[in-house]
């Protein structure tokens, strides 16, 4: 007998609304339909606005990868004006980008563990995440939406004292993350629950053009930081972290290993602050008039902004293609044929951020 189950839009696994219509045959999912658009606010239209205010608006597309959104927007708009940002601003942006990745990955790992019922380790992830948020509060003044990027640079400097604090933070964070890594990777229970669940083959990953940790978990070494370097990634070489098995376990392990990569990048950036000039902001002499696009590696994958100016303060068009939107079609083939109990786990390892997805 076939039954239909409505998974969502209000479901405890996701914080945000997304609907999966599952056709069941006993415990096995036979067919799956994805319905999105519950979060659609119409932000791209709103971007036809003062380009200086756009940076704040782009942060509100997604509260988890705010820094990536605003950096991507600012780089795109700076491109339309042919503006070069000062070196110090680029260093500060890079540090913030990696801090953002740290907290986002800790959140994703925590939610994955919660979805398999490991409440204790979820709480631990969130305790570690609070340290990152403290660092954000010290450097930018805000916990989640930082508001540090503007077109032409950044608005807050990182002085020598703060640099020292960041170094201490890296040491503490690395120790905590090592503990967390041991607990996750050596846990028999977690491995047994996640290995072999929701396997995405390399061919399927390439066919669906998934991005970010999802692609890297399926042996596709695609990382914008390595493929098309932006801000400071020309100097700081990033090697994409790849896992081969493509299941829920691989996607989570990629995130765990990227924590250390981020800490390493922050460590490499801090000495660059000392000899990077004092300017953190460059004023533009022209208005945006050309077209330009930028790609940024957000915690969830490739983030794309297209900007077009019309020689006035307002922008003509901003097109956003977020990473979750690229990953969205990915979970439908994985859910087909899986158990009902695995549906939550499979979707949460894609790290769905519906605020991004629908805009």
């Amino acid at each position: 007998m076939k039954t239909t189950i409505q998974f969502g839009p209000q479901h405890p696994v996701w914080v945000e609304p997304l609907r999966l219509k599952l056709t069941m045959d006993g415990e096995i999912v036979k067919d799956c339909e994805l319905e999105a658009g519950f979060c659609h606010r119409g932000l791209e239209k709103k971007f036809e606005w003062d380009y200086n205010k756009g940076a704040y608006l782009s942060e509100r597309i997604c509260g988890i990868c705010t820094q990536h959104h605003s950096t991507c927007y600012c780089t795109a708009v700076e491109g339309t004006m042919g503006l070069e940002i000062p070196r110090r601003a680029a260093v500060i942006r890079t540090i913030m980008l990696e801090l953002e990745r740290l907290h986002s990955h800790l959140l994703a790992i925590g939610l994955t563990l919660e979805s398999i019922g490991f409440e204790n380790l979820f709480m631990l992830c969130f305790r570690n995440r609070e340290i990152v948020l403290d660092m954000f509060e010290r450097t930018t003044g805000n916990r989640v939406l930082h508001g540090i990027n503007i077109v032409g640079g950044v608005i807050r400097n990182i002085g020598p004292e703060m640099a020292k604090e960041l170094e201490d933070f890296c040491d503490i964070m690395e120790k905590r993350c090592l503990d967390l890594k041991d607990m996750i990777l050596k846990s028999y229970t977690i491995r047994e629950r996640m290995q072999g669940v929701g396997v995405m083959s390399e061919q399927l990953a390439r066919d669906l053009c998934v991005v970010g940790p999802v692609a890297r978990g399926s042996n596709v070494p695609y990382d914008i930081r390595a493929v098309a370097p932006y801000v400071l990634y020309n100097e700081i070489k990033v090697k994409p972290i790849v896992e081969t098995s493509g299941d829920c376990w691989a996607r989570s392990v990629v995130r765990v290993r990227e924590l250390f990569q981020s800490i390493d990048i922050i460590r490499q950036c801090i000495p660059l602050l000392a000899d990077a000039g004092e300017d953190i902001f460059a004023k533009s002499k022209t208005l945006p008039e050309k077209e330009y696009f930028t790609r940024v590696e957000a915690p969830r994958g490739e983030l794309f902004y297209y900007a077009k100016g019309k020689k006035s303060k307002e922008m003509d068009r901003i097109k956003v293609r977020t990473s979750t939107y690229g990953n969205g079609p990915g979970f439908v083939p994985l859910i087909k044929g899986s158990h009902l109990a695995d549906v939550g786990l499979i979707t949460i390892t894609f790290d769905p951020c519906i605020g991004c997805f629908d805009r």
């Binding site: 839009p9 209000q10 479901h11 405890p12 914080v15 945000e16 609304p17 658009g37 519950f38 979060c39 659609h40 606010r41 119409g42 932000l43 239209k45 709103k46 704040y56 608006l57 942060e59 509100r60 597309i61 997604c62 509260g63 988890i64 705010t66 959140l107 979820f122 709480m123 969130f126 305790r127 995440r129 609070e130 948020l133 916990r143 989640v144 939406l145 951020c353 519906i354 605020g355 629908d358």
Partner: protein, 155 residues
Amino acid sequence: MSLIELSRKKSPWVIHVGTGGCNGCDLEILACLTPRFDASRFGVMSTGNPKHADIMLVVGPVTLKYKEIITNLYNQMPDPKVVIAVGTCASTGGIYQGCYGHCGSLDKVVPVDVYIPGCNVRPEAVIDGLVLGLDILNEKERKILEEKKKSKGAA
């Protein structure tokens, strides 16, 4: 004080509804429920089921597509119930004012008892709002009990 009233005062269950904001306030609510801020000191427990919930925490401007669902959720909650609008965009529409995809603020859709301002909110503010909401919940409970008593006396 009846037993039910006492248990409601000591342990309100919250349902967390995200209606299309930016996730920032969702994160801070999660931070509230986790070790640093730990709202379970006040007996607050997060639940996914509206039929078990006393307090609804709503995040984000209500999008047009979500309007129907949130009224549905509100109707499923048993009385007495309290609705808390978390964040500027749930309270007034905030930065999304003028976007075509949402219907302004939460109070145009369901009645709201407590507004928590801030874009995004701080966890301290969420806890403050929850405590305020608790008082309102108890007040509503008392009114319902009094009405019951009156109707019994009349009969």
